[in-house]
């Protein structure tokens, strides 16, 4: 009997391995250059006082991603596919245009992250940009979905550098624990925009598209859906654990010394005298890994989603002649995204600013589309949202909408 039990345990584990990937990868790409910068700033400027926000953020992330995953498994279609079939070509076209623009901005931000992390290791931007963009491009164009996913899963592992640097920084764990469990918030503009920034960087519009497509690509069966759920929940926890350690590192070192920073690379540099060279290097390596990782996924997912919605052939297993739009869009995003960084005196700050505005504007729409689609019986059958889940989901969407409005307001005025 115990042998049978072991065998069935083993089988469950094997199925789980076959199903995992999408959720964990999506969540980790989420900790990209922009994410690391935001968490670093939150730690450096506000100490441990924002740690508590990671708990509700994790919950919201799980709620939203679970819906995307469920739609992928039940309908076997990508999000842009579903939007196209339900809302027609016009809506799809404008939504996807906004997504392409936003993701182009995000891609530039990732390459900027790569450039500054490489800079810390003393590598010139003029060398790192061509090399890294080519590396990213080749990985996706020449690799198969399976091999690409493996590389991505390995990249996920490297986020451990932040956890290690968290221990090197030697924080006051007592205080960390207290801050995590006791929500405190002061209603001043700086705190509000920090909170909005934290939420906005963790829950981005592209994720929902990417996650759903990746799940469809995996061809997960309904009976194995529970493993996808585990995948998504694990991913959501991992992303916030990494965020937690980044905040802790910066709070324990930079905040206590009153050092102000503006980006993740500044944080890495500022860490050297306080927590030692290795902590600084680990931090920079984490940034490099995260930026490269996101720089390969963002353009890929964008090209994928656009072709899916417009009905063009797509996928990394197609030849260029079979899927020209897919490869063109992907290549443009990668090479132009990296090329922009080489422009001397680039107003990078304004590009980031515009990207943030677009991200913030797009997200509520995407959430509303998701909620309409997931409650459509013709698509989801009996797997539509339960009433209580719907209430939570709509409240989440409303809160996100409100936060986006606040974010826009705070950026513009």
């Amino acid at each position: 009997m115990s042998k049978g039990f072991l065998k069935s345990r083993w089988k469950v584990f094997l199925i789980f391995l076959a199903v995992i990937g999408p959720g964990i990868i999506t969540s980790n790409v989420d900790n990209d250059a922009g994410g690391i910068a935001t968490y670093s700033i939150a730690g450096a400027h506000f100490g441990y006082s924002f740690l508590w926000s990671l708990i509700p953020i994790t919950l919201v992330l799980i709620i939203i991603q679970e819906m995307s995953a469920r739609m992928g498994v039940v309908s076997g279609k990508g999000l842009s596919d579903l939007i196209r079939e339900k809302f027609g070509v016009k809506t799809t076209f404008y939504l996807l245009s906004a997504l392409v623009l936003t993701n182009f901005g995000n891609t530039i931000a990732e390459f900027a992250g790569v450039a500054s992390a490489m800079g810390i290791f003393g590598i010139s931007t003029y060398l790192s940009m061509p090399l890294c963009s080519l590396l990213v491009w080749l990985l996706v164009v020449k690799g198969s979905y399976k091999s690409v996913e493996k590389v991505f899963l390995v990249a996920c592992f490297f986020y451990i550098t932040y956890i290690i640097s968290g221990f090197i920084a030697n924080p006051d764990w007592n205080l960390v624990g207290k801050s995590l469990l006791s929500p405190k918030f002061s209603f001043n503009p700086a705190s509000i925009s920090m909170l909005v920034g934290l939420v906005g960087t963790t829950i981005a519009p592209w994720m929902q598209f990417y996650l759903q497509s990746a799940i469809v690509e995996k061809n997960v069966k309904l009976k194995n859906y529970k493993y996808s759920q585990i995948d998504v929940i694990t991913g959501s926890f991992v992303v916030n654990i990494v965020a937690f350690f980044i905040i802790v590192v910066c709070a324990a070192t930079l905040f206590s010394q009153g050092i102000k920073i503006n980006s993740a690379s500044e944080a890495a540099l500022a860490l050297a005298p306080l927590a030692g060279k290795y902590c600084s290097y680990l931090f920079a390596f984490g940034l490099l890994n995260a930026s490269l990782f996101a720089a390969s996924i963002l353009p890929l997912s964008t090209a994928y989603v656009v072709c899916e919605g417009m009905g063009w052939e797509n996928g990394v297993n197609k030849k260029f002649s079979e899927a020209p739009q897919f490869y063109l869009l992907y290549s443009l995003l990668v090479f132009v995204g990296a090329g922009v960084i080489l422009i001397p005196r680039l107003p990078l700050f304004y590009i980031m600013f515009l990207t943030q505005v677009l991200n913030g504007m797009l997200l509520p729409f995407v959430l509303i589309f998701i909620l309409f689609l997931i409650n459509d019986k013709r698509i989801m059958g009996k797997y539509t949202n339960k009433v209580w889940f719907n209430v939570i989901a709509w409240i989440t969407a409303a809160v996100m909408l409100a936060l986006s409005v606040i974010l826009l307001y705070s950026i513009i005025f």
């Binding site: 089988k11 309908s75 076997g76 279609k77 990508g78 076209f93 061809n219 069966k221 009905g311």
Partner: protein, 429 residues
């Protein structure tokens, strides 16, 4: 503008959401869809589907009603006029098995272009109004269809004309080659169109590509609509990950029928990746002979000659004549690549020699096979690994090589193609 006297083309999206007006000039509602009957090359529209103008009544505003085509007086890009006054008693929309809703089931959905053997997404549906009948004639799959729906044709044409003296053209595919891929929502099966080229007539490798391209439900529906043999041949070609999910969609008896039709080595590969209970259930449904042969193959270690080989080959006792061999050849339905050689065995089933088809044709029918057979044989052993197999093919350049067990008994053959697939798994994609 009587509908009977007119012959004109228009697109579905040009009339969708237009007002429907009755004989008194009263607005009845908005046109939401068209219902056509499948069964002819160019399906006839039988009714228009409308959503009633809300007259304050809050109850079920979303309900769709239908008005028979007989009652339509004028239909064009501006307005739809009815012959009579329909009043409040409209029939709710009902769809039968052979009915298709043009917007709901075709527009923006995936379809299979059976002529080009490709999956396309429909940007618009092209209709022809002639002799009082409205028929579905083309689907639009081009960029122009998208531009039209964005209402961008004007300025895009302006720019392309100005720059290149060129205009993006419509890309239409005749409906007679189109098979909708969205399954019937109630019956979960494909609504079969009368196409000039049937799905079953598409080459299995193309069908495999089509199935990979379709989304989940379309994929299953298309696969289920194939006949046994086509389904088996297609299944051999699709990505292994998809193979499993496709076979699992079928009931056990249908699934085992398909497995029986597949080449045994491919069927075994598929069986190996299924969970044990599923495998057993499938075996239970299979006929005995086939089952035993597959069971035999299942025993071999992956990556060895035993696992790669196929058991579809021609063998005959060496004491028989050419006439007997030809008789046997005539009866076989195995693919040509597995019958390029005829293997000869002695009374103990041991491999004794080989002949090619040419030998059979150019020698008199009563020749005893052993007198003309080639006795110097290159053989593989059941335990040989892929590298040894590849080396043998590289060195001797045969189309196929026999596989024998320890006692030199013939067990199967490996074709060049199987050897390539085994050595370079990426070729299989």
């Amino acid at each position: 503008m009587k509908k009977a006297s007119l012959k004109m083309f228009f697109f579905l999206t040009e009339i969708i959401n237009h007002r429907v007006v009755d004989s008194r000039g009263e607005v009845v509602g908005k046109i939401r869809d068209l219902k056509a009957v499948l069964g002819e090359l160019f399906p006839k529209v039988v009714s228009i589907c409308i959503q009633k103008k809300s007259r304050g009544g809050p109850k079920n505003k979303k309900e769709i009603f239908e008005i028979g085509w007989d009652n339509v007086k004028t239909i064009n890009q501006n307005i739809i006029k009815l012959k009579e006054d329909v009043g409040d008693d409209l029939k709710p929309l009902k769809t039968e098995k052979n009915h298709i809703l043009l917007k709901d089931e075709i527009l923006d959905k995936q379809v299979v272009d059976t002529f080009g053997a490709k999956v396309e997404r429909v940007n618009d549906v092209h209709l022809l109004l002639a002799e009082g009948e409205l028929r579905l004639v083309h689907v639009d799959i081009g960029i122009r269809g998208i531009l039209r729906r964005l209402k961008w044709t004007g300025w895009v044409d302006g720019i392309t004309n100005w720059l290149f003296a060129y205009q993006i053209r419509d890309k239409l595919i005749s409906w007679k080659y189109i098979q909708p891929a969205a399954p019937d929502p109630q019956r979960k099966e494909l609504k079969l169109n009368v196409t000039l080229r049937k799905l079953n007539e598409i080459h299995p490798s193309d069908l495999a590509d089509i199935i990979e391209e379709l989304d989940g439900q379309g994929r299953t529906a298309v696969f289920k609509s194939l006949d046994l043999q086509t389904a088996a041949e297609t299944l051999e070609e699709v990505d292994p990950k998809l193979q499993i999910s496709l076979i699992e969609e079928h009931t056990e008896d249908k699934a085992s029928d398909i497995l029986e039709e597949m080449a045994p080595d491919e069927a075994v590969d598929l069986l190996l990746s299924l969970p044990d209970e599923k495998k057993e259930k499938l075996f239970r449904e299979m006929d005995k002979g086939k089952k035993e042969r597959l069971m035999e193959l299942l025993k071999f270690v992956e990556g060895t000659a035993g696992a790669i080989m196929t058991i579809e080959y021609l063998s005959i006792n060496q004491s028989k004549t050419i006439k007997d061999a030809l008789e046997k050849f005539k009866k076989t339905t195995d693919p040509l690549e597995t019958t390029s050689y005829i293997y000869l065995t002695d009374d103990e089933e041991k491999l004794a020699g080989v002949l090619t088809l040419r030998h059979l044709i150019f020698n008199p029918p009563d020749t005893i096979l052993s007198s003309i057979m080639k006795k110097e044989l290159i053989k593989l052993s059941i335990e040989d690994d892929t590298n040894t197999i590849a080396d043998a093919f590289k060195k001797y350049k045969f189309m196929a090589l026999p596989v024998v067990d320890r006692n030199d008994r013939l067990k199967g053959i490996i074709t060049l193609r199987d050897a390539v697939d085994a050595k370079f798994p990426e070729f299989e994609d």
